[in-house]
């Protein structure tokens, strides 16, 4: 398949919990192509976060391989994984996780790699996300929705291949949560990224292209358009 930006093959991951071994991911595979927005749903404790951490190169799987932008990065060193996270992955977290002491424009500038300054305009991103007026505001002066949108803008600032969103609606009310997911969708489509969102919010699933359910360590495709 061409155009696959994120691919996980046969990922297994288990934790040692006291004396017993808990299998969290048991041979999970997933492929997300350009312009595709995938959602992963499942009860809490089902391994959604572990899955996202493996895809985000924050955890190494016990077996299986991770390909980003068509390249196998399973065996990458710690430093290489940091570089890949910076350049090829964009993270959106449960809460905005902005730095309290930086204005929005600086939040983006601090993670933007120098060569990207030409390619991705911070101001353009902010106006696409409708927070151009927050450019010179500290997070403390912004609403929850504005903060989450600033965090979304931050995820796109290095023109990554893959966007990973961890419950992006968790800290927002239904209306604002939906707006945030809409904005992620618009950017993913416009910039032709692959995106994976972990969520338990069924009300936003109509905005994504494919839905996977994770349960008992297995990943099942639930819907695909």
């Amino acid at each position: 398949m061409s155009g696959i930006l994120l691919e996980l093959k046969d990922i297994c991951k288990s934790y040692r919990d006291g004396s017993e071994e808990r299998v969290i991911l048991d041979g999970v595979s997933l492929a997300v192509g350009k312009g595709e927005f995938a959602a992963i749903v499942g009860p809490s404790g089902s391994g959604k976060s572990t899955f996202l951490s493996v895809a985000g190169l924050l955890l190494t799987p016990d077996s299986g391989s991770v390909l980003i932008g068509g390249k196998d990065v399973t065996g990458a060193s710690k430093g290489e994984r940091t570089m890949i996270r910076r350049r090829q992955l964009g993270f959106i977290f449960q809460s905005h996780n902005l730095l309290p002491y930086l204005k929005t424009a600086d939040q983006l500038a601090i993670v933007q790699e120098k060569p990207m300054r030409e390619k991705v305009s911070v101001d353009e991103l902010l106006s696409e996300l409708d927070i151009a007026d927050c450019r010179d505001k500290f997070p403390a002066k912004m609403s929850g929705g504005e903060k989450q949108r600033a965090a979304i803008a931050r995820a796109f600032v290095n023109d990554p291949d893959v966007i990973l969103a961890d419950e992006p609606t968790a800290s927002l009310d239904a209306q604002r949560g939906r707006l945030a997911v809409e904005m992620i969708r618009n950017e993913v489509k416009k910039r032709n990224k692959a995106a994976v969102m972990v969520t338990h919010d069924n009300r936003v699933l109509d905005l994504v292209d494919s839905v996977y359910r994770i349960d008992g360590g297995k990943l099942l495709k639930e819907r695909f358009e």
Binding site: S44, T50, L58, R86, F91, D166
Partner: protein, 363 residues
């Protein structure tokens, strides 16, 4: 650096408090350092400012001029060999101001009138230019005792009378102010005390090099620096205060390190997120170190200004003497030590696992 500065500006309330603490500490350090060199100068300034490089003393004197004895022929032999040499006697006595009966401490420096170790006067004439029988140049501290140019002062044990012909500044030895008299006056003084006195010198000051068989004649050539170190009480006082100064410098720098470490502990989640989005350890370490540098440079600069302002307002008699190079050395050391003291934070950051940024961590 830019982001560290923004962080400090944003959290200025808490940073101002730590700055205040550091400024007070550094001010104390600089002030003590000034007192240390002030006290040191009260012991040694007459030697320190003397226009000589080394001194000849006898080898049993343990490098202490006041207990040394050098025969007069040594001076003659040195001079005929072309060396730049001048005799020096140092004697602690008391003087009494004419028409008064209060004894004043005085250390006589007996020198040859017009020799290269005679200090420049800030008022009056030199010893050679005077026609008085027993001329004396006084440290200007004696002005505070009401002595002025042309006054007569009396040696308390011999009643020999000296005429004040000039004043010099900043000449002290062993915590007493110095009076410069001629070698001739000194010989007269000694003969009055002991008619059997045979002239010899305590030491011979040398400028440049001197070619002489010192060891063969029971003598040694000692550098000015060593002579000062061996003045009684100089090392003891100087070392103690210097040690306090450096311990305080280190404590101040460590306080920055601890403060920074506490801030780092509070920001574990922030650092975890920054690492998750791909910021390198080196970038985060750079932010922490620049923050420490900004704090320490600011504290150093403010305390320097405060100290010099204070020094200008301090009473003349207080032994405070701070030279800019010393003050800068102390503050530069403080800034330099603050950087390794922030390593604790850097190590802590490098150990933060970015996976904590996702969900609740492990499920």
């Amino acid at each position: 650096m830019k982001y560290a500065w923004k962080e400090i500006l944003y959290g200025r309330k808490k940073y101002i408090l730590i700055e205040l603490l550091l400024i007070l500490l550094m001010f104390m350090v600089l002030f003590l350092s000034g007192l240390a060199s002030g006290l040191g100068r009260a012991v040694s300034s007459a030697i320190d400012t003397m226009n000589a490089d080394s001194f000849i003393v006898d080898d049993s004197a343990e490098q202490l001029i006041t207990v040394s004895s050098v025969g007069t022929q040594v001076l003659d032999e040195l001079r005929s060999a072309g060396a730049n040499a001048a005799p020096l006697d140092i004697q602690r006595m008391y003087i009494i101001k004419d028409g008064d009966d209060e004894k004043l401490n005085m250390t006589y420096f007996a020198i040859e009138a017009g020799s290269f170790i005679e200090p420049e006067t800030i008022e009056g004439t030199g010893l050679a230019a005077s026609s008085a029988d027993n001329p004396i140049l006084l440290d200007d501290d004696y002005k505070l005792e009401g002595i002025s140019l042309g006054d007569k002062v009396r040696d308390s044990s011999t009643d020999i009378e000296f005429t004040v012909v000039g004043f010099v500044d900043d000449r002290m030895y062993g915590h007493t102010s110095v009076g410069y008299i001629t070698t001739d006056s000194y010989t007269r003084l000694r003969k009055a005390l002991n008619p059997m006195y045979v002239q010899s010198y305590h030491a011979i000051a040398v400028r440049g090099s001197a070619d002489y068989d010192f060891a063969g004649n029971g003598l040694e050539l000692v550098s000015k620096h060593e002579i000062i170190e061996n003045i009684p009480s100089y090392s003891a006082e100087h070392l103690t205060i210097t040690m306090i100064v450096w311990v305080l410098v280190i404590i101040s720098a460590v306080i920055i390190g601890i403060f920074n470490y506490i801030l780092t502990l509070q920001k574990q989640k922030q650092f975890g997120v920054m690492k998750a989005v791909g910021m390198r350890n080196s970038e985060l370490a750079g932010m922490v170190i620049s923050e420490v540098l900004i704090i320490s440079v600011f504290a150093a600069a403010v305390s320097l200004v405060l100290t010099f302002a204070m020094a200008a307002a301090i009473p003349e008699k207080m032994p405070f003497y701070l030279e800019a190079p010393d003050a800068v050395a102390v503050t530069a050391a403080f800034v330099a030590i603050s950087v390794p003291s922030s390593m604790l934070s850097v190590v802590n950051i490098s150990r933060i696992d970015p996976v904590k940024a996702i969900g609740g961590g492990e499920e």
